[in-house]
Structure formats: structure tokens, C-alpha cells
Symmetry: none
Subunit: 214 residues, 2 copies
Amino acid sequence: MNDNRADSVKNKQSKIYLDIVEELRLMIQADGLLPGDKIPSERELSERLQVGRSSVREALRSLELLGLIETRRGEGTFIKVFQEHRLVELLGAFFLLDENSRNNLSETKILLEQACLQGVVNKAAQADIEDMIQWAKTQDFDDEAFFQRVFQINPNHLLERIWIVVNSYEKSAGGPNRKAPKQLYVELLHALMHKDSDEIDRIYSKGIRLSDKS
Amino acid sequence: MNDNRADSVKNKQSKIYLDIVEELRLMIQADGLLPGDKIPSERELSERLQVGRSSVREALRSLELLGLIETRRGEGTFIKVFQEHRLVELLGAFFLLDENSRNNLSETKILLEQACLQGVVNKAAQADIEDMIQWAKTQDFDDEAFFQRVFQINPNHLLERIWIVVNSYEKSAGGPNRKAPKQLYVELLHALMHKDSDEIDRIYSKGIRLSDKS
DNA sequence: AGAGAAAATGTGGTCAGACCACTTTACTGC
DNA sequence: GCAGTAAAGTGGTCTGACCACATTTTCTCT
């Protein structure tokens, strides 16, 4: 058996499908593939990586359940825009989080949101904030939708992605359903526009986060 | 959603492996299985659900990647403690193929560290801090090892997990090699013990994070 | 030549069976 | 009783075969 896979040489330590997940990650990274792009077919991957098609499928199905890729019968497999997937809800359905984890989730989420708000103050485009004020005035939204947008206008999208995960987890764990008066959100946006950090912190901590105590 | 295929009568609407995931969920719930418990073997599931073993494996491998189950060759498949999930790690690995996110690594890391320090002030056991002071005085360590320990004594281990990912990726992305005089770290620990938030922030931001500018 | 139909091709979806590697259990001979 | 070995059970992987669906190519009839 000449397992000539440049990097992992006969690495029986880990399971093949995990290797493939990693290979795919590298491949996507190397080729600069973006959401919507097509990745090689199962058969081609199987041949290229010198593994059975079933192993390739185990890897792809895993990534699909994770929401990272999407497969369309007869067409192919495509990279998916990462968004909130029902998967995380599934997690909640599987196992309940213990009290401690739940608190961690809540705390971490708040922390990310506070950091995001500061980030917006320091680095977001003023125009984005103004747009969001218009949006807030005309649209209906809940707490989640609000912060989703706030994270979008923060240039640090890594933070956004972490928040998405944590937020999903918290929801699936049956976290508190936060919802403050719309007015507060609008005030928060104005404070953001005026770069009034203290006011932002006050509205967020004392106002929006008031109702639920963790 | 008309996701009603429990009966599975020629219902080609959804993929088999997703059905199996759902079946497993119900099975676990019905039998009241807990972490550590063993679930039926692949072959038994295959027969019981009247599906191919490869489909069963696709489902199991997906759940395994999610960290919901654990498989041990020759033994079987077991339900895993939810705490050990690695969703954050996984998603993190794929997030970072996004070029833009890479630039946010340093910023996010600092943010996590600051948050961790505040968390230690508010919630860590005093004894842990004292232990760490002893450790710091007698051992040799670098910046990474120091914060690794700080995160460990912070009760919020979710934060730790996130940091681990961000940190490792920053390293692999060739981030700055931070290293402050040992004395500063010791001072930081003392400030932690005295719960002097301002001092902590000062030492961290102006001292330890002095050299590198982001 | 053009439009529509039919066939070929490509791709994911699923299954069955065959081995392998490893662990647990049962059995056997002393 | 005990050690050593055989058998059974279980996950890990591969191969090959179909099916279902979508796209592309080819063919046929006007």
C-alpha cells in the first residue's frame, strides 16, 4: 500500500473521514473558494485523495450537518454561507446543557455584544450606523435581529461568527428571551453614532440587559 | 415544516442519514440514555431501521464530528458529555478560510484576554490566583502559557475554548510574538488578587500589550 | 437550420458485501 | 483455578452496483 498522500502518510491514528475534513479545509483555503463555489465531486475526491467514496461521504455528510456545505443531487456539493443552521437547535434537542454551561453561554454572549458595540464605536463606518438607524425606525425586529445587524457593521467579522455560534447555542439551551422596548435600541444606535461609550454601556447593561439576570 | 417522515414509507424527501439522526435522538430520549451510555451497534441500527449500514455511519460520523457521540473501535459507540463538544473549534477552523477574519485575530484575542481577566477578578477562586502566583514565581513561562493558565482559573470555560482556537490560529498566521518582562505578569497577578480592575487593565494594555500595535 | 425529443453524462443517495483491526467474551487444556 | 487461545462482536474502510435527478450533448423530424 503506497499511501502517497504528501502530508499524512499512512496516518492510521485518526480516522480517514477526519483527514478528509482537514484536506477539504486546506483545499478550500488554498483555492480560495468562497460560499456558493462548487467543490470537487465525491468520486473525484475519492480518487484524488486515494480513499473510498464512502469515507469521502462521511466527511461531506458531517460538514453538511454542520451547515458548512450544501449538496444538491444531480448537481454537486457547494460551500454554504455560514448562517444560523438548525443544527444547533438539534444539539439542544440532544442534550440539555448543565447550569454551568448555560451561564457561560449567557455571559460570553453579553461579553461579545459589549465588545462588538465598542468595536462599532471605534471602527464602523458612520454611514452604516445611519443606515441601521433608518432600518430600526422602519422595521420590526427582535433582540437577536438587532445584534445580528450590529455585528454585521462591525468590521471584526470573526467576532460576528463567534457570536453566531454562541447565540445559537444559547437559544438551543433555552436561554432567556431578551426583548427590550424598541426605543432603547434606537437610543443605543444614536449613542453609537455619537461615539458615546459610557452611554452605550449604560443603555446596554442597565437597559437592554436589565430584565434578565443571570 | 412537514418534516414528518417517522414512518419512512418511500419518503424520499429527506436524506436517510438525517432521518437516522432524528431516530437516534428519539431513541436516546425514549430510553433515557445518558452520557457514557452505549448506543446500538451500527449493524443493529442498520437492521432495526431497515437502512444500509453506510447510511447509519453517515449519521453517526456526523454526530461524532459534532462531539455528541464517541466511537471506540472494537467496543462501540457511546454518548458523550456535551461539555466536550467541539463545535466552536470546528467552525473556527472553517471560518478562518475567510481572508477578512484573519485580520481580526489579534483584536479578538486581546478582547478575550481582557474579558478573561475581568472574569477572574469577579469569579475566580482566590486560592487559584495564589497558586498561580506561586507558579509564576517558580516556573518559567511565556506569554501564551501565562494566559493559558489564566483562562483555566476563570470559571467560564467556554471563553477558554474560544481563546484556544483564536490563539492557535493567530500563531499559525504568524502573529506577533508577545513577551513582556516576567515582573509584569507577576504584578498582573497581584492586581488580580487585589481585584484592582483599573490596575489590571493598565498593566495589560500598557504593559504586556505594549510592544505590539494592532 | 431550428426546435424539440431522446440519449448520454455527471453527480449525489443508498445499499450490500467483503475485509481489516481491535476489544471483549467464551472456551479449552493444563 | 488460570493462562492461553479461539470466537464473536464492533467500528473502519473499500469496492461495486444501482437509483434519482440535473445538465449537456446528440439525434430526429419538420
